[in-house]
């Protein structure tokens, strides 16, 4: 007797992906509608512009070369700070995990950095360094404690049983790091980078606003505020959100690919 199976169409990956997209679009439409209702209720363009006006202004800006140079310059500064924070945080986590003395030295400093308001750092940085470097420094300081904390946690939670196995089978330091520590730390590192990227953008743009950095998104937000160009304010804020989300997605994809290629996840 032949048994036929009929594929369950409602569970096919294509269909469920389409349903997911449908849900996301509905959610976006809901928030856009709410924005429009708010705009209609307030009816003052100084306080809130309509979504159509904000997106229209964004499209206008996108037509200018200066817009792309500004967006790229900001991205370069903030991503530089982010990468510096990631590298320094990872190295520091490795060092403080190995040495109790180094942990005792650096732990209070990291706790202070974590607890200090971003605005204080930005204003201090303005005194210490030149305006273009303030966003880099601020993003670096925001990312460093997050990466340090997560990577340290990942190292501490590495399976002792696997480390014993590595010791018995004479892995050596390089192989133990490559085969045990890196895959163990990877989920913590990925989470730190995701959180860090968001923080870097928030703090970095705030630093650009306060430092009024030339050719920067933050600088344009500051000018929009000064000249009461609310549409510009909304448009530039949208730029920050879009770049931050895109970079986060790109980073996640890159990490997934690297993790897969080198058996780290």
């Amino acid at each position: 007797m032949k048994i036929f199976t009929i594929p369950n169409k409602s569970n096919s990956p294509k269909r469920s992906r389409a349903a997911e997209w449908g849900r996301k679009c509905l959610a976006a439409l809901f928030w856009l509608a709410l924005w429009q209702v708010l705009y209609l209720a307030v009816q003052q363009e100084i306080l809130i512009v309509s979504p159509v006006r904000a997106f229209g202004r964004l499209l206008e800006l996108a037509g200018e070369a200066e817009f792309w140079i500004t967006a790229f310059s900001s991205m370069l500064r903030i991503v530089s700070g982010f990468l510096l924070g990631v590298v320094a945080g990872t190295l520091l986590a490795a060092l403080t995990s190995v040495s109790r003395l180094l942990y005792d030295v650096f732990h209070p400093m990291i706790s202070i950095v974590k607890a200090t308001p971003v605005a204080s750092f930005i204003l201090l940085a303005l005194v210490w360094i030149e305006s273009p470097y303030v966003p880099v420094f601020t993003a670096f300081l925001m990312v460093l404690p997050v990466v340090w904390g997560n990577v340290s946690n990942g190292i501490a939670k590495t399976d002792r049983n696997l480390l014993q196995m590595a010791e018995v089978y004479q892995f050596g330091i390089a192989k133990t790091i490559r085969r045990i520590y890196l895959p163990s730390i990877m989920p913590y590192f990925t989470a730190a980078c995701t959180t860090g990227m968001g923080l870097a953008w928030k703090a970095g743009v705030a630093a650009e606003v306060l430092a009024n950095t030339k050719r920067s998104i933050g600088g344009n937000i500051y000018n929009a505020k000064i000249y009461i160009e609310t549409a510009d304010l909304f448009a530039w804020t949208a730029v920050v959100i879009v770049i931050s989300v895109l970079l986060e997605k790109l980073m996640m994809r890159l990490m997934k690919t690297v993790g897969k290629k080198y058996n780290l996840s």
Binding site: Q164, M165, Y169, K175, N263
Partner: protein
């Protein structure tokens, strides 16, 4: 070279697990350790493997000898496949050799699977392949055949005997028949603290028969 344990002491939070333990083991052959759970066998293995330090006493005859240790748990790396789990202990990475060891334990077709895709018995066989591939002079086997069915168990026991003739194999088992079948010497243990209550030489009896 004989392995001698001299006045070994090891305590955990004031509770002695090894106390003035003295034991002389042959340079090669199979010694079965037969005793209740928690009597200190794993602690003894960990000390022989160098994973734990004795509080006092010494283990002599380990200089320059490689130790392969099949733990109670499989301790496979979850992020790599079965073949890579064997390959990772080889001095020089050699995929073909790792595959050969997997075939020896009957898992030639499962090399690409990760530990999470294997059953408990299969994971134990990968761990056995790893221990044999490492090729230690001293092989510590802590209940290595626990999760295996009787037929596979016999095959694995024969494999261990065949591939490590020149090594000293210390085998923890709770199976009296297995001990009688495999061992040149059986140590009946009690504890903690670990002590030897009886020694038996089944290989003499097998030779007499």
């Amino acid at each position: 070279m004989k392995l001698t344990i001299q006045d070994a002491c090891k305590s955990y939070e004031g509770r002695p697990v090894l106390e003035q333990l003295c034991l002389a083991l042959p340079g090669k052959g199979t010694v079965c350790l037969f005793g209740p759970s928690g009597c200190g066998k794993t602690t003894l293995f960990n000390c022989i493997a160098g994973l734990e330090k004795l509080d006092s006493g010494a283990i002599l005859g380990m200089e320059g000898r490689r130790v392969a240790y099949m733990f109670q748990e499989d301790r496979l790396l979850p992020w790599i496949n079965a073949r890579e789990n064997v390959e990772v202990v080889l001095r020089h990475a050699d995929e073909k050799q790792a595959q050969k060891w997997l075939e020896a334990v009957g898992l030639g077709e499962d090399g690409d699977k990760r530990p999470s895709e294997l059953s408990g018995g299969m994971r134990q066989r990968v761990a056995l392949a790893r221990a044999l591939a490492f090729g230690g002079d001293v092989i510590l086997l802590d209940e290595p055949f626990r999760a295996l069915d009787p037929k596979t168990r016999l095959r694995m026991e024969a494999l261990v005997q065949e591939h490590s003739r020149e090594a000293l194999k210390l085998l923890v088992t709770h199976d009296r028949e297995e001990a009688q079948f495999l061992a040149d010497q059986i140590l009946y243990l009690e504890g903690p603290p670990l002590r030897i209550v009886r020694r038996e030489f089944p290989s003499d009896r097998r030779n007499d028969a």
